[in-house]
Symmetry: C2
Subunit: 336 residues, 2 copies
Amino acid sequence: MANIKDIAKHLGVSVSTVSRAMNGHPDVSEETKKQVLEAVRALNYRPNAIAKGLIQKKTFTIGLMIPDISDPFFSSMANGVEETLSERGYQVVYGNTNRNPNKEKQFIANAIQRQFDGLIITPDFWDEEFAGLLAELEMPVVLLRRRTPQGLSMPYVDVDHYRAATEAVNYLIGLGHRNIGFIGMPATSFSGSERLRGYMDTMREHGLLPAEPDVVAGGRTIAFGREAMEMLHEGNPQLTAVFAANDLLGIGALEWAAIRGIPVPDQLSVIGYDNLEYADLHWIQLTTMAQPRREMGSKAAHMLLQMIADKETLPGSELLEANLIIRRSCKERPTT
Amino acid sequence: MANIKDIAKHLGVSVSTVSRAMNGHPDVSEETKKQVLEAVRALNYRPNAIAKGLIQKKTFTIGLMIPDISDPFFSSMANGVEETLSERGYQVVYGNTNRNPNKEKQFIANAIQRQFDGLIITPDFWDEEFAGLLAELEMPVVLLRRRTPQGLSMPYVDVDHYRAATEAVNYLIGLGHRNIGFIGMPATSFSGSERLRGYMDTMREHGLLPAEPDVVAGGRTIAFGREAMEMLHEGNPQLTAVFAANDLLGIGALEWAAIRGIPVPDQLSVIGYDNLEYADLHWIQLTTMAQPRREMGSKAAHMLLQMIADKETLPGSELLEANLIIRRSCKERPTT
DNA sequence: CTGAAAGCGCTTACAG
DNA sequence: CTGAAAGCGCTTACAG
């Protein structure tokens, strides 16, 4: 591969001149600029970005740390990140952590050694060591789909899960439902507990204080949703509607209804959360709260760009809104 | 950030010694090695991978070019790639091309400038310029889910679509079906035409030369599958089974049946191709040919690793086998 | 407008 | 076993 010296030699000028011509430096004559560009084409010269990065202390690469790129939720966010960053000449390096604490630390260590310009991360573990790593990091970081823990100061972008849950439950109540169950994620999930809180508060506000058997939580899968729906029904056969904290749980509820021969939405309304591709299938048509996944990614990317441009001022965190997507899994309360 | 000079100064040794100690060079005394490692920890020194890369001409980064990371097909493959590469200290840099020829070229140009150690790519365009770029590339490349075009010599890993189609159709025939339709992808798709060829050959072998109306091709979506099934049925109401060239098309066929009230698999058998997550849903339970997506990714990564280790000998291409996943969308031919 | 020189942070023959 | 020196391929004050 030709390097900058080859170009200089070829033209009988100095490497400084070649460098300046290539980087659009103002004080270099049109004539030499033209010659340089010609030589670059002729020798098929491509400046070595590694050398450039070493001297400029800027690598135009961003690390994106997520639990699992094959989870459609994260891949859409990753797409949003990649799109806005690549437009501006950045490369994104992604790392799957598989929710493994060591892989998370490994990724950060790598980012430091490789001199990334910034990081967008969705961490799952906040032990001391990890928090220490982040605190010492001399690199802009934005949290994606996570809130900033005590003691750290980086901005985040997340969805307002509490508000979204409120909206979902209000929709059901607006349809006339009074006995509304909740299928939840494990208690360890922050976004899960926000959704539960939104459900509880909204029910209470309407004087519909839910009885204990109306809440079953602890999983994230279709299978768990099916079992939870069964438990909900056993505990309170009066239930006419269910808010599932994610779409997989909601689909599990739908499965239960299908197996039991209970017509949805005529006898049972189900609302989900996520708007997975699944939700739009002919047999499912799940009404759900859509999180703006792609937008979250691009928002995080923009924030990071801003932090890179202005090292001093920290942008504020952002809480995006979920949207109610009405399909065909909810209906007015049956008047029996 | 501390650098290698700081460590050397701190210890009163030369940078060469620090470098050798850190890289496990044999002839450096145990004593100094210990001291260096201690100082590294004390000053929290992390070697600059950029500088290292510049001098060693090895960056431990691999480019992964795919059409769309949010397509579950590609994200599974990406996962396979990332897993095997990250274990060996490589970082993977991915780029979505969105099937845009300029983005493809842009990615290759970037890979050159950034001195990647190798590339795994799933290109969609093979114009002269792109082929030229690849031909001049001084970097190992393996093709993923694509076959190597004339004139180039890099290895590929793909699935044997022809064989898989053969297996799918034979399964249907083994179930007693004789009137078997085909829903296909656009004619421009290589893998699509391989699947069509497998269907045609197998039908012919069994003396079931399909009539023209038994083949409808031209799309990849659920909506197209639904319409295609309608056309197939109009053209030949005798059809008792259908081979869909991908799962989305198959699901479309299932939708058509559901809307028409035609029971599957009692009146109509449907077999798909891909084994998407969708296929396992309660309402779908689509029998299908599974492509070993993750394995394809890791296989490609292993090949690339081998090419990096041994610059001389080119590994052979690999054609992986798809597996028949039997669910509940196929049954013996109805004996009417 | 252009060039010589220093330097980014490392590694690696070459001497000793 | 250790150090001084050269060099990877660039950019950027500093002079002129």
